[in-house]
Structures are given as C-alpha cells and as structure tokens.
C-alpha cells in the first residue's frame, strides 16, 4: 500500500525567514506529485505539480518554489516568508492523472 508522509507536522516561523517543507511517497514508483495551500477555513489552491524527477510545473505564483530531487520526494521552499504564507500545506500524489491522494499536511504559522 502507498503511504505519504509530510514533515514537519507544524512550523512557527518569523516573517523573512526561510522555509522548507517535505513530502515523501512510499510504495509507488514514478507518481505524479502535487503541492496545495489551504487558508484557514478555506478551499485548496494547487501550487505545483511534478510528473517526473527534476521537473516541476508552477500553477500559481506565491513567492514559493518546489523541487523534486528524488522520485519519491517533493520539497516546497522559500527564502523569505511572508505573513500571507500562513496556512495548511498539503502534498498529494496520483498514479497519473485523475484522483489524487493527500498527505496529512503541515500547518505553517508566520509571525
């Protein structure tokens, strides 16, 4: 069975500080991987997706970047956090297109 793990579970960071969030999928080779952002009480916004190692497509610009250094790993990062980056970050995977399966999420608070 496939499992998806996100780290850290939660972060409290200062405005202007760097950020790195991680996601690992086990039990599935060459998955499509995705990053989403969810404001508190809000809907989900797709940020990035990747269909293969080293290739990442940006969906929206939020002063964030993403990388896929390994087949099973997806990293979300920024060099300077903004207050507007606060929220819930979710990683997801899919076999190809179609339904996506979500990780447990990382809650980010920027102060």
């Amino acid at each position: 069975a496939q499992t998806i793990h996100q780290w850290p579970v939660a972060e409290i960071k200062a405005v202007g500080s760097p950020l790195s969030l991680g996601c690992t999928i086990k039990g599935k080779s060459s998955p499509n991987l995705y990053w989403y952002w969810q404001a508190t009480g809000g809907t989900l916004q797709q940020l990035f997706y990747s269909i293969t190692v080293g290739q990442v497509e940006s969906v929206v610009q939020l002063n964030l970047s993403a990388s896929r250094p390994k087949d099973d790993q997806f990293i979300l990062s920024t060099e300077k956090l903004l207050l507007s980056h606060s929220g819930f970050y979710l990683c997801a995977w899919s076999p190809q297109g179609g339904e996506q399966y979500f990780g447990p999420g990382t809650r980010l608070t920027v102060l």
Binding site: T43, L44, E99, P104
Partner: protein, 114 residues
C-alpha cells in the same frame, strides 16, 4: 476555464437524517469529478470519483453521488448520517484534457447533531 461551486457553506442535520450536499461545475466537456472529506486538522480523504458510465457512483462509508450532465451537477448523498460524518466536504473537478489539474469548490461544513 473550469470552476466548481458548492452553494451551501454550512449544512446542519440531525443524526439519522438523509443528506444532500450540492455541487455544480462549469466545464465545456464532461470532467472527472470527485468528492473529498476533511476532518479537523487532517488531510483530505477521497470519498468517491466519477469518470464515465453509470451516473450514480458509490463511495466509502455509504456515500453516493449522482452526476447530471444536463444540470452540470454532482451532488453527494447519504441516506442516514452519523455524528462522525461531521467534517468539511469538498467537490473537485479535473479537466479531462489536463490530468494534473484539480479544481476545488469552497467546501461545505457539515454538522451532525445528536
């Protein structure tokens, strides 16, 4: 452009009652459609999906949804709700031309009272 509308921000029902959560979509062709559930402080769980064929699809935990092309809708239903069904429910659309894109509705908060 594609969009998903969930017209009810909040729905409150008593335990044992039937449930319908509404979802309307906008897309030029027949999309792939999904319902997800999110419990507090957790990720999303897939309830059911529609790709083609029978317009009534069965999902987990006795949920089902009905696709209507004429109404551009994909309503979620359950015959008898339980207090543990209280959560946020999201309808989502994936354009058949772009399998990587997933567009979510605003979500409906379901509260089941005893």
């Amino acid at each position: 452009a594609q969009s998903v509308t969930q017209p009810d921000a909040r729905v409150t029902v008593s335990e044992g009652a039937s449930l319908q959560l509404r979802c309307k979509y906008s897309y030029s062709a027949t999309p792939y459609l999904f319902w997800y559930v999110q419990y507090p402080r957790q990720g999303l769980q897939l309830l059911l999906k529609y790709y083609s064929g029978d317009p009534v699809v069965q999902g987990v935990n006795s949920f089902e949804a009905e696709f209507s092309k004429s109404n551009s809708s994909f309503h979620l239903q359950k015959a008898s709700v339980h207090w543990s069904d209280s959560a946020v429910y999201f309808c989502a659309l994936s354009p058949t031309s772009s399998g990587q894109k997933l567009v979510f509705g605003q979500g409906t908060i379901l509260k089941v009272y005893l």
